[in-house]
């Protein structure tokens, strides 16, 4: 039987309730393969592309550019070329008649973050999915669990996936004194015990990759495999101007050009993204937490810890993913672990898990299955 599939407004992050259609990236009649970008959509926080899950032909563009639509609303229809127009019209009519936009209350009742006490610190985390070997997502310097908003849900289709806020970050305790990857790895180790994870596939981005390596050294039994994305601790180079500017920056104008260096597409740095970063940076204790960490991990524009040999010695499977044009940590570090599987994504920047989400999700899914 021929298949018909709806393309709907995605939900990116906990707070997204509606999105604006920016533009169609495919025309009606185009043949589409899984993972291809179909339409660009913008939420309050970020813009991104909706990707195809199936092979087919784009038959209808239901949503028009600049339209603001609730999460779940119909954007377009993909179907095989032999599906009749009548059948597609019927499907659209039925969808529109039955579609009920989520209310504010339902949105509030959506996935909620939780907190857990670890060694006197409060750590925030978000769990999605159940079963399988748990997957643990660890963000980078100055980031938080929202760095995984395009990955978390997709990875959690058939397993439990946890994303945490490291100490000093997101909504976790700010006053930490943490100044090393070991300090952060111990917090992650404590977190795993607190929520009952004996061992996990760990995924770290940037500094979070360094945390995964430190965890492998200190508690190898808790690590089943390592996925290191644009990871720290694989060499001593790092963009020191970025780190120093980020620690010092407290205004929109100071942060905007810095955050733009994280992405290959500077258009992704929206007002809301900068405002959220400013809100985080203004919290009491954050300045100090970041300055302490930066001083310990990245003194004078160099990385103080290089743990590539830890990965090699551990014998664990390692996947390394990097953006070719990373302006924070050089892509040359991707080859630091000889035994690792290495994937360099062309034209991508430091936040490759956000900008090339479907590719990264697929790589992690295959690697950890």
């Amino acid at each position: 039987m021929s298949s018909i599939l709806t393309v709907t407004m995605p939900k990116w992050g906990l707070s997204m309730q509606e999105g604006k259609v920016n533009l169609w990236l495919k025309e009606v009649g185009d043949t589409i393969a899984p993972g291809e970008e179909i339409i660009e959509v913008e939420s309050e926080k970020i813009s991104g592309a909706v990707e195809a899950a199936v092979t087919g032909v784009l038959r209808r563009q239901v949503a028009q550019p600049d339209e603001v639509l609730p999460v779940g609303a119909l954007l377009g229809v993909i179907a095989d070329a032999d599906v009749s127009d009548d059948l597609i019209d019927d499907l659209i009519a039925r969808f529109q008649a039955e579609f009920v936009p989520p209310t504010d209350d339902e949105a509030d009742a959506g996935p909620q973050t939780q907190t857990v006490q670890v060694n006197g610190r409060q750590l925030r985390y978000l769990k999605r999915g159940d079963g399988g070997t748990p997957l643990l997502l660890i963000h980078g310097f100055g980031g938080d669990l929202n760095n995984w908003l395009f990955n978390h849900e997709a990875l959690a289709a058939s397993r439990a996936v946890y994303a945490i806020d490291l100490p000093g970050h997101g909504a976790s305790t700010k006053v930490t004194g943490a100044a090393s990857l070991d300090d952060l790895a111990d917090a992650v180790s404590g977190f795993m015990e607190a929520v009952g994870i004996t061992s996990a596939d760990v995924v770290g981005h940037s500094m979070g990759g360094g945390v995964c390596l430190a965890l492998t050294r200190r508690a190898p039994q808790k690590v089943k495999s390592l996925t290191l994305i644009a990871s720290a601790a694989l060499g001593s180079d790092i963009n020191g101007a970025y780190i120093d500017g980020f620690v010092a920056g407290n205004t929109r104008n100071a942060l905007k050009p810095l955050l733009a260096q994280l992405f290959s597409d500077a258009g992704l740095v929206t007002r809301q993204l900068i405002d959220d970063m400013l809100k985080y940076k203004r919290l009491e204790g954050v300045d100090e937490a970041l300055a302490t960490l930066a001083g310990g991990l990245f003194p004078a524009g160099r990385q103080s810890a290089v743990l590539a040999d830890v990965a090699a010695a551990s014998g664990k499977p390692v996947l390394v993913i990097w953006g070719e044009n990373d302006r924070i940590i050089p892509v040359a570090h991707a080859s630091a672990i000889p035994s690792a599987r290495v994937v360099v994504l062309p034209a991508q920047g430091h936040m490759v898990q956000m900008e090339s989400a479907s590719e990264v999700n697929k790589l992690i899914g295959e690697f950890t299955s």
Partner: protein
């Protein structure tokens, strides 16, 4: 961690956290502790609308009920500030400031200058402003423009719970006299506010919505009306850039200028009367600094030059509405 609380709770939390952090912070005003000259916390109202509720019990001896004499206790707060305290004086309604203008304009605002920088006056004067409460002409004015006019005063107009907390903490830690103004209609507004302490700096506007067609500068409660208008206009294909200056002194003119140079069209929304207002202030600034960029005459959406009416139907007409903002945006959009 951020959670939803009201504007009123955000103000209370800022006071509570600053009192816990710094023993020189005190709260004083009419009924800020007790109700009817109450003997203890069981009868503690925490102000006419309960904004300071609970502080009396948590910080014994530091929440002071004063006589109904604004000139007396505002003067006392200013004097205490000169002598090492950080008083937060609540004046209830901004409309009552008239009786203590000397203490505010001629004393607090001038000390640093008159004493060659040797004196500092870290006093915060909180007051409610604004129409919409059927409270008639003597309890409904805005008047922030009057304080903005005086060098030496800082003037703060939070439009949401997040800003209310961060700006009040900055106000308390600031070494100059700060007039902190709370719109009555916003007390019940809910928003995400971090539990932790944080500062929102003075003189840094918030860009509430980005857009390239028309710049809207709105003050205090009007920011929320501008957002309603902006959301409606967005669905019609008009992209507004909405700027909330957050403080009118210091004022972030740079952000406004940068935006108008891009859009060429400006609408200013100010709940105050139109003459000598924030609307005319921003309008004059842009006419002088960005005349060449303007593609249409500047539009001011304000209340009329009349006292706030008591009749409900007239008061509703008096306050600028999202519909009037939308009309003004369309006028500048469609001009040429």
């Amino acid at each position: 961690m951020a959670r939803k609380i009201t504007y009123q709770q955000a103000i209370n939390e800022a006071l509570d956290q600053e009192m816990a952090r710094d023993p020189s912070v005190i709260v004083m005003g009419e009924d800020v502790a007790g109700g009817a000259g109450a003997p203890g916390e069981e009868d503690s109202w925490g102000g006419v609308l309960g904004v300071t509720k609970g502080l009396y019990a948590k910080h014994p001896g530091r929440v002071l009920d004063t006589p109904i004499s604004e000139s007396g206790y505002i003067g006392a707060a200013v004097g205490a500030a000169c002598n090492g305290m950080r008083p937060v004086a609540e004046l209830m309604f901004i409309d009552f400031m008239g009786v203590c203008f000397d203490q505010i304009f001629n004393q607090a605002a001038k000390f640093r200058y008159m004493f060659g920088g040797k004196a500092k006056t870290p006093v915060v004067i909180r007051a409610m402003y604004g129409a919409g409460f059927r409270a008639a002409a003597q309890h409904s004015q805005c008047l922030y423009n009057i304080f903005t006019h005086i060098p030496g005063l800082k003037v703060v107009l939070p439009s949401n719970p997040y800003d209310a907390k961060g700006l009040l903490i900055q106000s308390i830690r600031d070494n100059d006299p700060v007039i902190f103004l709370e719109h009555k209609a916003l007390y019940t507004m809910e928003g995400d506010v971090p539990e932790e302490s944080y500062i929102v700096p003075f003189g840094e506007a918030a860009v509430v919505q980005e857009g390239d067609d028309v710049t809207i500068v709105a003050f205090g409660r009007m920011v929320n009306y501008a957002k309603d208008a902006g959301a409606s206009l967005r669905k019609k294909g008009v992209q507004c850039e909405i700027i909330d200056p957050r403080t009118t002194s210091p004022m972030d003119f740079d952000t406004i200028l940068e935006s108008v140079e891009r859009t060429g069209r400006l609408v200013i929304v100010d709940e105050s009367h139109p003459r000598c207002s924030m609307a005319s202030d921003v309008s004059g600034f842009i006419a002088q600094e960005a005349f060449g960029a303007l593609k249409a005459p500047i539009q001011m959406v304000t209340a009329p030059h009349v006292p706030v009416p008591f009749a409900a139907s007239l008061e509703d007409l008096y306050i600028p509405s999202p519909a009037r903002i939308e009309e003004a945006v369309m006028r500048v959009k469609e001009y040429r």
